[in-house]
């Protein structure tokens, strides 16, 4: 028994290392800060760039931060939406379906508002779920001072949010939860085995002694009385949705206007 369990544990460690090792083996990830809208001063620019590099290293993916005044006059073709602009920018920069993220800030989206869009590609689609993506954007918009021209705090908040959300992570309570479930499984098996040891109990009824064919139902009525309807809110989608860009690459992500 103990031998078998040791073997099972060993197998788990093996599978984990097989899954993790390739991720560590690859090391060439690019990072970039393209401040075409000029919303950062040189000092902020170099500070943010070093943060982006750090996030790219931590997340093991390509990472580009892009600011533009509007999405017209791009050097590549796109279908005119902020989403497609971000997707195509990424594909243009790092290739289709490679692992990476592009963060796009558009100062004028044509409707008198600003757009922020975080587009994901490759492994990052799954790593950054829709709800995590939304949380990062909301947090950044909250941090942004509407009166100031500066976007350093705004972009920095997004970079830190990505750093937290993208690398493989589990919430702290997952470890005790896993062992609690394990304990539940153990007890379930043990209860089953303990039941084998108990064979003495009173009979529930006298079902073995019913005279065969003696049952006779003389009246049977099923009457409908009333109905109640209860509703519960559906749990939010916890996964990641994806779409195909006009360039043919698969991307995830989402954006907001503010």
């Amino acid at each position: 028994m103990t031998k078998r369990i040791t073997a099972a544990l060993f197998a788990v460690i093996l599978i984990l290392s097989i899954a993790i090792l390739p991720a560590y083996a690859e090391s060439t990830y690019n990072y970039k800060l393209d401040d075409a809208a000029n919303v950062l001063n040189p000092n902020e620019e170099s500070q943010l760039l070093s943060t982006i590099k750090e996030v790219s290293d931590t997340c093991k993916c390509n990472l580009a931060f892009v600011t533009v005044n509007d999405i017209n006059g791009a050097s590549f073709s796109h279908n005119g939406t902020t989403q497609d602009y971000a997707d195509r920018y990424y594909e243009n920069e790092y290739g289709k379906n490679t692992d990476g993220i592009v963060v796009l800030l558009v100062l004028n989206n044509g409707k008198g508002k600003r757009d922020i869009y975080i587009s994901t590609s490759g492994k990052c689609i799954k790593r950054l779920t829709d709800s995590e993506n939304e949380d990062i954007r909301d947090e950044a918009i909250k941090k942004h001072n509407p009166d100031s021209k500066g976007y350093y705090d705004f972009l920095n908040a997004i970079a830190l949010g990505i750093k937290k959300a993208v690398p493989p992570h589990l919430k702290w309570y997952m470890l005790p939860l896993a062992f609690l479930i394990g304990f539940g499984i153990a007890m379930l098996i043990l209860m089953f085995m303990k039941k084998q040891l108990k064979s003495v109990e009173m009979q529930r009824g006298a079902v073995s002694y019913v005279r065969s064919g003696s049952m006779n139902v003389t009246a049977a009525r099923d009457s409908y009385l009333y109905s109640t309807v209860s509703r519960t809110a559906r749990p939010k989608n916890t996964g990641s949705s994806s779409h195909t860009s006009s360039g043919g690459g698969t991307h995830g992500g989402g954006g907001s206007s503010f």
């Binding site: 028994m1 103990t2 369990i5 788990v12 460690i13 599978i15 984990l16 899954a19 993790i20 991720a23 493989p168 992570h169 589990l170 997952m174 470890l175 896993a178 062992f179 609690l180 479930i181 394990g182 304990f183 153990a186 098996i189 043990l190 085995m193 303990k194 084998q196 040891l197 064979s199 003495v200 109990e201 009173m202 009979q203 529930r204 009824g205 006298a206 079902v207 073995s208 002694y209 019913v210 005279r211 003696s214 049952m215 006779n216 139902v217 003389t218 009246a219 049977a220 009525r221 099923d222 409908y224 009385l225 009333y226 109905s227 109640t228 309807v229 509703r231 519960t232 809110a233 559906r234």
Partner: protein, 360 residues
């Protein structure tokens, strides 16, 4: 005369009922006799000795002090040794010569059973079933299994009251059906409530209730069912070779248990006719019994005793069907060791799985 033995008409040895051939068999000369034939032969023998028996009955009156304590002593017809039993012992064996003795006093008057199901399985079958009972049970202490010495094994005819009854029932249930759907924001569950009414009748035959306080009720119910098709009219000859108790709980006192069982099964049977609902809860039930009849029968039970860590464990086997029951001890050390190992292994696997989901 207090003690009855069946003598072999060939060699005068004490006869015993053989469960394999379902006949009386002489252990000394191997002659087999039909129970019916032997009964007729024995009646003739008894007629000869009637006058003599009267004498012994007079002698028996001296033991009235024993009666107060519930003890009885009898004289073995084969060796003259004294057999001591309690007031309910009806068949036993002589501790000195091992001959089977049936104590006739116990069957006087109204105490005579109506039916008996003769033993179909012998002592070897009971031992084999006991060993089988210990197999495949992980939490059973290894020591218990390895030692597995049986302190005592005996075949006992246990007195049962049998209840026959027709039951009329009116039962009302509250039942629900559910229908679920959802839109983009909510999940909806519509629960529809129904009042379901069922009326009808059902009949029960030979519902047994243990009539002996020395047999634990739960142990006796656990080896059920007994198949009444094998029951025959009672004859004392079937008792030889086995132990027997007479009832010490009368039919009146056993009725409650029979009622409970019949009522439960009646409700269950009508509950089963209510189909197509998610939940069915009884709201009202009226079960009326009529044409109830009570019979007194002896059913065959093998009883095994063993001791483990100063605690007594009793096992019972249905002497007709071979159903074997008996609670077994749990190895607490094994229990917690297994719990720890499985918790650790399953916990690690689940946690690993969580990481894997993150990585892939």
């Amino acid at each position: 005369m207090a003690v009855q033995e069946y003598k072999c008409p060939c060699c005068s040895g004490a006869l015993a009922f053989d469960s394999t051939v379902q006949k009386m068999k002489c252990p000394f000369c191997d002659t087999e006799f039909e129970v019916e034939a032997l009964k007729a032969y024995d009646e003739d023998l008894n007629n000869e000795g009637t006058d003599k028996l009267e004498w012994d009955t007079n002698a028996g009156t001296q033991w009235t002090t024993d009666e107060a304590t519930g003890l009885r002593s009898y004289i073995c017809q084969s060796c003259g040794g004294e057999i001591v039993g309690d007031e309910n012992t009806a068949a036993t064996e002589c501790p000195f010569c091992g001959n089977h003795a049936i104590i006739m006093q116990q069957f006087s008057g109204a105490l005579k059973p109506d039916y008996v199901i003769p033993f179909k399985l012998n002592k070897e079958a009971a031992k084999a079933e006991y060993l089988k009972h210990l197999q495949g049970k992980f939490l059973l202490p290894k020591v218990f299994k390895d030692e597995n010495h049986i302190d005592e094994i005996k075949g006992i005819y246990v007195p049962f009251w049998l209840f026959d009854s027709d039951a009329d029932a009116d039962i009302r249930f509250r039942a629900t059906r559910t229908h679920a759907w959802s839109d983009s924001d909510y999940n909806y569950v519509e629960t529809s409530y129904y009042s379901v009414y069922r009326a009808g009748s059902i009949a029960f035959d030979h519902v047994p209730v243990d009539g002996s306080t020395r047999m634990p009720d739960d142990l006796m119910e656990s080896i059920e069912p007994f198949n009444f098709a094998d029951a025959v009219d009672f004859q004392t000859a079937y008792l030889s070779g086995y132990f027997a108790d007479k009832y010490d709980v009368d039919a009146e006192a056993s009725i409650d248990r029979a009622n409970t069982r019949i009522k439960t099964s009646t409700e269950d049977a009508f509950r089963d006719t209510v189909q197509g609902y998610v939940t069915v809860t009884p709201e009202y039930s009226s079960v009326r019994l009529h044409d109830g009849k009570t019979k007194y029968a002896f059913y065959p039970v093998w009883l095994l005793n063993t001791t483990y860590k100063d605690e007594k464990y009793t096992f019972a086997m249905n002497g007709q069907t071979g159903k074997f029951v008996g609670n077994l001890p749990t190895d607490k050390g094994k229990f917690w060791k297994f719990a720890a190992i499985v918790t650790a292994a399953a916990g690690a696997l689940i946690y690993g799985g969580m990481w894997l989901m993150q990585l892939l």
